[in-house]
Amino acid sequence: MSVEARATRAPFAYHHELLLLIVLVLVVGFLAVGTDKFLTVDNMLNQGRLMTEVALVALPMTFIIITGGIDLSVGSIMGLAAIMLGVAWKNFGLPLELAIVFSVAVGAVAGFFNGLLIIRVRVPPLIMTLATLALYRGLAEGISQARSVRGYPEWFFVLGQGEVFGVPTQLWILLVAIIIFWIVLAKTTFGRSLYAIGYNEEAARFSGIPVDRIKLIIYSLSGTMAGLAGYIFVSRVSTTRSDMGTGLELDAIAAVVLGGTSIFGGVGTIAGTVIGFTLIQLLKNGLALSGVKGDATIVVIGTVLILSILVSNFLQRRRGAGG
């Protein structure tokens, strides 16, 4: 059974990413013809800078969705972590370096709390993280007293606004993160366990996979990455506000799903997710540069999402009928 499942899954995943890659190349080509401002090194690097926060959150989101779960609270965790950075520095008087570590840790704890309730109380992840979406945002607003924290020292902005070897600093972090997440998912037992859980959680349990521990790890990971994204975001926009990261979860989930990860679990790759968030970002940017207005851009993104799901469903069904 499991051998058969792998055999049908692997070629499909391959097809979807190839298809996406072709779409990506077509889109880039099309947009590059539309305006000469699009396909420049400057613009591409800048787009990388702008998409880093979503991308960092989309990576662990891929893990979670592969297990058949979801994390809707990432945007709120990002807001909470950002606020805690500011508050820890300004109000608790921590050195800024420690405040940064503290804020990422807050993200990790928030994610851990999600995971803990999901495995202990067996609340469905959708419900649990919907609740913490509200809870964490409320905490962020309450703790910050809705006042923003500003006036960070110059070195703090290197991560969000600076460059290393001519490439935006945060892109290096993203690159490292992509490699690590890719290796973990594709090459380790941990990664294979994620697929197993997504395919059949009960079966995974009976096969001796520590399902609960793995879930706890991936939700904590998701919180940690949201915390990191919060730090990067604060550094990029040089201020802390409690409404930061609103709607981030939808962007991240859209990227993951566009990348071919099945919302029902068991299917998905990091490569797909990477193409997914790149495609969405470049579409948004390219359309804007070609003079398409903001509201029309959202329509195009929505259409692309629907089309990608239709096409992948079609391919899946044809494969099912053929095999």
Binding site: K37, E141, S238, M244, L289, G294, D295
Partner: protein, 367 residues
């Protein structure tokens, strides 16, 4: 049971007393400068130019320029009116092309991305109304660094991230108008609540801080109950106003709407609750949105400047900057049909004093 009630009442009273000393929610912590209680005009301290400068801007004096306007959000009456003003100015000038584009929600990240894209695309000037004064600064500085002129209107950024800012009305002036109107309607001992966009939105935060300062010095017995956030969202504003009415009942004498969305929504909530005449609504809003409530008598007066003039002035200021007619140190600028506008506060251009419209004149306006 009785004891419990006493405890709860005492606690509430204590908390209330503790809160009264605190700044109102939604105000900022910058120094305030309340106007005198009568009509003595405020003093304006002279201040050196504190705006930014472009580097390597092409000399387009007298030539056609392309401008992009990024308001806080698109699709609301207020910014549709500023867009209309910009269109009028562009038509009069004849050598300006201006396009409005922006996020559909008042979201800082989206707004930054929009500006970033237009900076990449290459325009001669950026007009903006900031969702956050600090968060928007890096991308505006980037524009200045690429030789793109930057002029703000409606909601300011850090001064050094833009060249000029067209100020629709001074904060203390608006605050005085709002509080005086409310006091006239609910009396000097009335209790009121505030519906704002978010606690950190720059204009609203400034107004609320100034309102508190002015109320404490000129109408000290009025009582602030609560400030609630409603983004700039119709349904949320309505719900928040509705919650306030249900929560405070007869204790609530008046509601301030701090945005052009919150004020009509609050008026609608009061109307639907059948509380017209018992709960006053005073706030900032556009005439078209408020006309039904002003005509029905549910709302007595609305405070505003003309957003059409605001957009109009922003384009004239931009043109003057490009043509070299407005440079650091100047004290006034020519703005078409608005005549000469004063430079205040270093690098701001003042549109004029706020305007109060009521039943007698609401039909003279269409925006």
């Amino acid at each position: 049971m009785k004891r419990l009630a006493i405890i709860i009442a005492t606690t509430t009273a204590l908390t209330g007393a503790a809160l009264a000393a605190d700044p109102w929610d939604g105000g900022d912590d910058l120094p305030t400068n309340p106007l005198a209680c009568d009509d003595t005009p405020g003093t304006v301290a002279a201040k050196d130019y504190d705006g930014g400068q472009t580097t390597g801007a092409a000399d387009k004096s007298g030539k056609e320029i392309t401008l992009i306007d990024i308001p806080k959000l698109v699709g609301v009456g207020y910014f549709a009116a500023t867009t209309e003003g910009m269109r009028q100015a562009a038509e009069e000038l004849g050598n300006v092309k201006v396009t409005t584009d922006g996020p559909t929600e008042a979201n800082i990240d989206d707004q930054i991305t929009f500006i970033d894209n237009y900076v990449t695309q290459g325009v001669d000037g950026v007009l903006f109304a900031a969702n956050d004064p600090v968060a928007i600064a890096p991308v505006l500085k980037k524009a200045l660094g690429k030789g793109i002129h930057v002029v703000g209107y409606d909601a300011n950024s850090d001064p050094d991230a833009r060249e000029w800012f067209v100020n629709q009305a001074e904060f203390n002036g608006i605050a005085k108008s709002l509080i005086d109107q409310m006091a006239a309607e609910i009396g000097d001992e009335g209790k009121f609540a505030i519906v704002t966009s978010t606690f950190t939105t720059p204009n609203q935060a400034r107004w609320i801080a100034e309102m508190q300062a002015y109320q404490e010095s000129c109408h000290p017995k009025m009582e602030w109950l609560e400030t609630v956030e409603a983004q700039e969202d119709n349904i949320l504003s309505f719900n928040q106003a509705n919650t306030l009415i249900n929560k405070y009942g007869d204790d609530l004498d008046g509601i301030f709407g701090m945005t052009s969305v919150a004020t009509p929504a609050a008026a609608e909530a009061v109307t639907q609750a059948g509380a017209c005449g018992e709960t006053a609504v005073v706030g900032l809003a556009t005439p078209n949105a408020m006309r039904p409530y002003v005509e029905s008598g549910c709302v007595k007066s609305v405070v505003l400047w003309s957003p059409v003039d605001l957009g109009y002035a922003a384009v004239y200021v931009m043109r003057a900057v490009v043509d070299g007619d407005l440079s650091p140190g100047d004290t006034e600028v020519e703005a078409g049909r608005l005549g000469k506008l004063q430079v205040v506060n270093g690098s701001e251009i003042l549109l004029g004093s706020p305007f109060v419209f009521d039943k007698s004149n609401v039909n003279d306006f269409d925006f």
